[in-house]
């Protein structure tokens, strides 16, 4: 196939047209750097969404009873010991070192009542120590404090609910819900802290109480409604879900448990991430169609200027296909090198921003929220090998595709015409 000869010719031609080569290369490198930065920044943004989402929600991976998601009733709770089972499964997982927390909650829908009235409420029995390190809510205190380890009859209440029920720090309120015996049970608690996230869904309905208090109130002892697992990067989620499903095969088969990744557990968050990703792809697609056409243009120009050369190559014994590959190899060499440099530059830019980029100014002090999730405005770009490989692959694809047409032109020239003697 004369690969060595073809490569040599390609290299020589790239060097001969150094100015054109550098121009094309620069366009490609800038495109690649932008692409890389945009993607790592986008992935970082999404990771942020996911992280905030799973913290307020049910974790990167959640284990619960299948019906619980819809019913939110105490009867759909996990049998005792599930927490231990999940802990053990997590420890035996390949992703064990990526797991940052295993937490548990007793979550139910109920009613909050005070002297001023009653409001539907989402009541979460939580372990205050774990929750303080996990949930962003404890950082949104506007008055009082978050729950503490030895709290008993304490409640941490959303500001909207506080207003509606005319409460203040120290006020008493009664939370009511169906208990383990299917009877309505009430529990008196005292407001120790008030939070405001700016997100109505949370502020108007969420109440945290210590899980021990909730267990006594509802007669569920140490049972839980959901066990959540947090990992340091969402990349680890699919593997962990598979592993937990294997390990918990027995309760799952009995219908006592289900394992969900955040995508299933928080479908609206997943959809938001997807929509944003595809919006990004579309933009980048357009960027690269433009870059691609400028490459087609320069490569085609160079082919048209070199008709005689391609004629000579064929006259000397290169087949049309080999002649085409001279052009393709030229495009390929340039593309590979530029893609690597471009991604390298992009990664360098990304590294320069590894401390995070504060985008809060873009939002004019408004709280950033996403399907009921408060979001940290400092975005840390995220680099994953898969993403980098995709970018390299995509750029090479664009580079090669844009050399195909010029290569075909080089292969199909009229040999004698191209080599004509001009007097």
């Amino acid at each position: 196939m004369h690969f060595g000869v073809i490569t040599m010719l390609a290299l020589r031609n790239l060097r001969r047209n150094l100015r054109r080569t550098i121009l094309t290369a620069t366009a490609f490198i800038i495109g690649g750097a932008l692409l890389t930065f945009a993607q790592t920044f986008g992935d970082g943004t999404h990771e942020q969404w996911i992280d905030s989402g799973v913290r307020t929600g049910s974790g990167h991976v959640t284990v619960e009873v299948p019906e619980f998601r819809v019913s939110r009733k105490i009867e759909d709770r996990l049998p005792g010991g599930t927490l231990q089972l999940v802990r053990k499964a997590v420890e035996s997982s390949a992703a064990a070192d990526r797991v940052t927390d295993v937490f548990y909650r007793l979550t139910i829908n109920g009613l909050a009542t005070s002297a001023s009235g009653a409001r539907p409420a989402q009541i979460l029995g939580v372990d205050p120590t774990i929750e303080a390190s996990l949930s962003p809510l404890d950082e949104q205190v506007v008055e009082g404090r978050y729950l503490k380890k030895d709290d008993r009859l304490a409640a941490f209440v959303g500001a909207g609910l506080v207003d509606a029920l005319d409460l203040r720090i120290g006020s008493r309120l009664v939370v009511m819900a169906q208990d383990a015996h299917k009877e309505v049970a009430g529990q008196l608690v005292r407001v120790v802290g008030i939070f405001r996230t700016g997100i109505a869904e949370l502020d108007d309905s969420v109440i945290h109480v210590p899980i021990a208090t909730a267990g006594e109130w509802l007669g569920t002892g140490r049972d839980l409604t959901n066990v959540g697992v947090m990992v340091d990067s969402s990349v680890a989620v699919p593997g962990l879900v598979r592993h937990l499903r294997r390990e918990l095969a027995e309760p799952i088969a009995k219908g006592d448990a289900t394992v969900m990744g955040w995508r299933e557990a928080m479908p609206s968050l997943h959809a938001a991430v997807l929509v944003d990703e595809w919006g990004g792809y579309l933009m980048l697609g357009i960027l690269f169609v433009i870059v691609g056409f400028s490459i087609i243009n320069t490569v085609l120009m160079s082919v048209l200027h070199r008709h005689r050369e391609f004629g000579v190559l064929q006259a000397l014994g290169l087949t049309p296909r080999q002649t085409a590959s001279v052009v393709l190899v030229e495009g390929l060499l340039q593309t590979v090198v530029c893609a690597l440099i471009g991604v390298g530059v992009g990664l360098a830019i990304t590294a320069a921003f590894s401390g995070g980029i504060d985008i809060s100014e873009l939002y004019n002090d408004q709280e950033m929220q996403f399907s009921g999730v408060a979001i940290d405005p400092v975005i840390v770009p995220m680099v994953t090998p898969v993403r980098i490989l995709y970018i390299l692959g995509f750029m090479m694809f664009v580079g090669i595709v844009s050399s195909v047409y010029p290569a075909m032109r080089a292969a199909t020239i009229d040999v004698t015409e191209s080599m004509k003697f001009e007097r």
Binding site: V5, R16, V312, G317, L318, T416, M419, K420
Partner: protein, 233 residues
């Protein structure tokens, strides 16, 4: 393959007609010609008489409108473009009227290019080209790019490129057009020697009296057709 037939080239009733706007140009008209292996033949004729077109047809660079051409035992019409390329690479050396050196390669690299494609070892390539460069007065210009060579020098590189790989057939279009009589004698000496010693078949298209004189056979073309065909003893 050429051993099984006595001839190097045979054409039978070959026509090449170009469509020039509304007008038809009959560049080659009904040429039937047999060239034996080891011949040293000149094609002469006025400008536009079809010499270049005939050489291009024989070299398989263009296909005839009508008629058949055999080279090295193969009928060119039966070969695919790929097979034609292979045949050129292995059997045919070209000297083009416009030299047609590759601009990105040095004189030496141009001259050894067909051998490079054939996979000839580097040492052998260098040895053959060096020797031919010496004989054509090109020593010292090995590393120059064609753009930095005179017309005559480019022509000599083109001739060396055509013969260095020792093809069975060399088709040379005006190989001496830009050379003074001394340089053109040197080239002709070299080609005559390759012809004598290795039995390489040479077909020249030429206006040059020297070349015609030194050829053993002289085919004259007029308006695309063979006008006369003489072989000297």
């Amino acid at each position: 393959m050429s051993e099984s037939n006595g001839y190097a080239v045979r054409t039978a009733g070959v026509w090449k007609i170009f469509q020039q706007e509304a007008e038809e140009v009959q560049a080659v008209r009904d040429v039937s010609l047999t060239i034996e292996r080891g011949e040293f033949t000149a094609l002469a004729g006025p400008s536009g008489s079809g010499k270049t077109t005939l050489l291009n047809l024989i070299g398989g660079l263009t296909r005839p409108t009508r008629g058949e051409i055999w080279v090295a035992g193969s009928e060119l019409g039966a070969l695919s473009n790929r097979e034609l390329a292979q045949l050129r690479l292995e059997e045919v050396g070209f000297v083009f009227q416009a030299y047609n050196l590759l601009p990105v390669l040095s004189a030496l690299e141009n001259a050894e290019f067909p051998m490079l494609l054939q996979g000839t070892p580097a040492a052998e390539r260098a040895a053959r080209v060096q020797e031919l460069f010496e004989r054509t007065g090109m020593t010292g210009l090995e590393d120059r790019r064609p753009g930095k060579l005179s017309g005559g020098q480019q022509q000599r590189v083109a001739v060396v490129r055509a013969v260095a790989s020792q093809p069975a057939l060399v088709l040379a279009d005006e190989p001496t057009a830009n050379l003074d009589s001394h340089a053109s004698e040197a080239l002709l000496d070299m080609m005559a020697e390759l012809n004598r010693e290795l039995g390489v078949t040479f077909v020249f298209a030429t206006h040059d009296g020297h070349v015609m004189e030194r050829s053993r056979r002289l085919v004259r073309m007029v308006d695309g057709a063979i006008d006369s065909d003489e072989t000297r003893s």
